[in-house]
């Protein structure tokens, strides 16, 4: 996994609540068996005009953008930090949703409310892909969302080591906000650790657990 230390980029805003993973990437695109190619499929049923969404096997062939979809604001082109509404990523466990967000160029998501910003599985999937899901206190989130709405070309710097978001206002001044990331997740992101390799180092503990399990836990022969 790619390590995450500091990232500076443009900020985009999609302030809808309860954005579910079917919306992030419709199920028909889950037929792909690859781990790549999902960027153009992000929000496919919202992002393109009717009939313009790519086919599952040819994601690079896209129709025209739907002008009313917030992320199609030309000022948001190239943004790598996405401010989203509460309960983002609810619904299905599909990691394809995180792949789509990442492969569309985003490295950071910012949602309002501790334990309310992201759905649990989506949040875990984000960590596992080096996509940083930040939950901010509502007032701080509103300040950033408001700043992006007023200045859609805004840039911000996210520093994981210091756990700060610095919003660079167009007139030159900047404002910083602190965030919290669970300590283990932070450690893994900063180092870009391979979780499986880490776990295999403690295979002895796993074996001991297996030996202590009651006999009935092993499936009966079929």
């Amino acid at each position: 996994m790619e390590a995450f230390t500091t990232h500076r980029g443009h900020v985009a805003l999609l302030d809808w609540t309860d954005v579910n993973t079917d919306l992030i990437i419709p199920a028909r695109y889950l037929k792909r068996i690859e781990r790549t190619g999902y960027g153009p499929l992000l929000f496919a049923d919202k992002r393109y005009v009717a009939g313009g969404a790519p086919e599952v096997d040819t994601p690079e062939q896209q129709g025209a953008y739907e002008a009313t979809f917030p992320l199609n604001n030309p000022h948001f082109k190239g943004a790598s930090i996405l401010v989203v509404g509460k309960n983002f990523g609810c619904g299905s466990s599909r990691e394809h949703a995180v792949w789509a967000v990442s492969q569309a160029g985003y490295r950071v998501l910012i949602a309002p409310g501790k334990h309310e910003g992201f759905a649990d599985i989506f949040e875990q999937n984000s960590f596992n892909n080096g996509l940083l899901p930040i939950e901010l206190p509502e007032a701080d989130w509103r300040a950033i969302a408001g700043a992006v709405a007023a200045h859609p070309t805004l840039e911000a710097t996210v520093n994981l080591e210091a756990s700060t978001i610095t919003v660079h206002q167009p007139e030159g001044k900047s404002t910083s906000y602190s965030f919290e990331i669970p300590s283990e997740q932070r450690k893994r992101l900063l180092a870009g650790l391979d979780a499986i390799a880490e776990t295999l180092l403690i295979a002895d503990s796993i074996s001991r657990h297996e030996q202590s399990a009651p006999a009935w836990v092993t499936p009966a022969a079929s």
């Binding site: 919306l23 599985i121 596992n128 796993i206 399990a213 499936p219």
Partner: protein, 470 residues
């Protein structure tokens, strides 16, 4: 006396391998695999030269892509490739696969319990959010992403953050005739919201839960994720033990192992409701059949009610409600029983079990599907299908004018030929009414099997209690 603990904590603690307050490595007793969320995980293993640690704890079946008209005839090349990839991966890594035609294939959350793979007190994961279904047995069961699928395949464990909070959902009273487990869970989601369970494991208890069959309990636990919960569970009792022992469940313990298991399973309960971090109480006796009107599972009203008017919706939610009304093509204030349906779907991991089919058949028996309405009845597994045949339920469905299909996920999500066309409106026993969930532009209303059958007969949503009275 030690601090009272919840059922969830007990199951969590016995699977704790190592860790600290911030991070725990949990042992996983059962891993269910389907074709959609596993190919990239197997690729990851191959790239790193890793093996599956405990293939005998891993069970696979194709379900999402399987056509329900003819399971063997997958015409869509991408779907076919995905199912064939599952076959190859299972063969290469030594995993048991219940393929179409095996007699044991079906929706992963239907076959786990019916084969005795799902047991009380175990941990169960699957790359599918509706894994919460298995919590009905007092298992800790939850959905995971594909990176985690790979981690479980390689290590039989999973890293978890701080232990989730426990949320007790007490359901008192008795359901009126015509109401089902589906109405209970829709009412719970309506009460706590789609984010109400975030960061929590829900435990359902109380007289209305104890009165449910295992099928009903699975329906309730299945939709825990629609309340945002990590998992949902119910303490095992005699109904659970009968389910596991009175019918042949090939992977369930037998003989001495069963005696030991039963002694253990009887200890699996929350010591006292005070142990929950959070608690709410719902009265089942006041419920009427529930119908969703919008594009989120908490946008739910009574069948006797109407599509909400904007002034009835809190200001902060009005924007979402307006978008939902527009997508659903509904006028605020419309009585629910005046909304016509095009398609009725009875099936899915929420309501594709034998009891669900019996309930739907009870309503449809001797009646006809309204003209212009298409009805799909889709058994959740090949075993459910065989049982329905043995009971003659298929005859009732076809006599009423419904289509009797083969086992699979079908119209719950648009990954196989069963889907809504733009603008079509369904009464669906599935779990999600999200935009496009049943096909781009499709409009989904979630209901119980009885209410779906009633809508099939009436051609509009209608109160099934009126049909049952006559």
């Amino acid at each position: 006396m030690s601090r009272p603990t919840t059922l969830f904590e007990k199951v969590w603690n016995r699977h704790f391998v190592t860790g600290n307050d911030a991070s725990s490595l949990l042992y996983i007793d059962r891993h269910l695999v389907h074709e959609v969320t596993s190919p990239q995980a197997f690729d990851g293993l191959r790239l790193a030269g890793r093996k599956v640690r405990r293939p005998e704890l891993t069970f696979a079946t194709p379900d999402h892509n399987v056509p329900t008209e003819n399971q063997f005839d997958i015409r869509e090349p991408m779907s076919r490739r995905q199912v064939e990839t599952l076959r190859k991966n299972c063969q290469e890594f030594g995993i048991t696969l219940y393929d179409v035609g095996s007699g044991r294939q079906g929706i992963v959350h239907v076959i786990g319990p019916e084969l005795g793979i799902t047991l009380p007190g175990t941990t169960i994961v699957c790359g599918d959010s509706h894994t919460s279904t298995h919590g009905a047995f007092g298992a800790l069961a939850f959905g995971i992403g594909t990176s985690e699928v790979e981690h479980v395949l390689a290590t039989q464990t999973l890293w978890q953050g701080p232990r989730p909070k426990s949320f007790g959902i007490e359901v008192v009273g008795k359901l009126a005739p015509g109401l089902e487990a589906k109405d209970i869970i829709l009412a719970i989601i309506r009460a706590i919201g789609t984010g109400g369970g975030t960061g929590c494991v829900l435990e359902y208890y109380g007289p209305a839960i104890s009165a449910l069959s295992m099928e009903g309990r699975m329906t309730v636990c299945n939709m825990s994720i629609e309340a945002g919960a990590r998992a949902g569970l119910i303490a095992p009792d005699e109904i659970t033990f009968d389910y596991l022992t009175q019918v042949d469940r090939p992977f369930a313990p037998k003989g001495q192992a069963l005696e030991a298991a039963l002694a253990d399973w009887r200890t699996l309960k929350t010591d006292t409701p005070d142990a929950f971090d959070q608690h709410i109480r719902i009265d089942a006796s006041t419920l009427v059949p529930q119908v969703t009107w919008g594009t989120s599972p908490d946008m739910t009203v009574d069948i006797t009610g109407h599509v909400p008017r904007l002034d009835e919706i809190p200001a902060a939610q009005r924007g979402d409600a307006e978008r939902a009304l527009h997508y659903m093509g509904l006028e605020p204030g419309t009585p629910i029983n005046k909304i016509p349906v095009d398609i009725v779907f009875i099936g899915s991991c929420t309501n594709g079990r034998i009891e669900d089919l019996r309930t739907a058949a009870h309503v449809l028996k001797g009646r006809k599907v309204a003209s212009g309405v298409r009805v799909l009845v889709v058994p959740g597994s090949e075993q459910v299908k065989a049982q329905a045949h043995a009971e003659g339920l298929d005859q009732i469905f076809t006599a009423a004018g419904a289509e009797w299909r083969e086992a699979g996920c079908s119209m719950c999500l648009a990954m196989n030929p069963d889907k809504l066309t733009p603008g079509q409106r369904s009464a669906s026993t599935s779990n999600r009414n999200f935009e496009g969930r049943q096909g781009p532009g499709g409009r989904t209303h979630l209901v119980s099997p009885a209410m779906a059958a009633a809508a099939a007969v009436a051609g509009t949503f209608t109160d099934v209690r009126n049909l049952l009275a006559h």
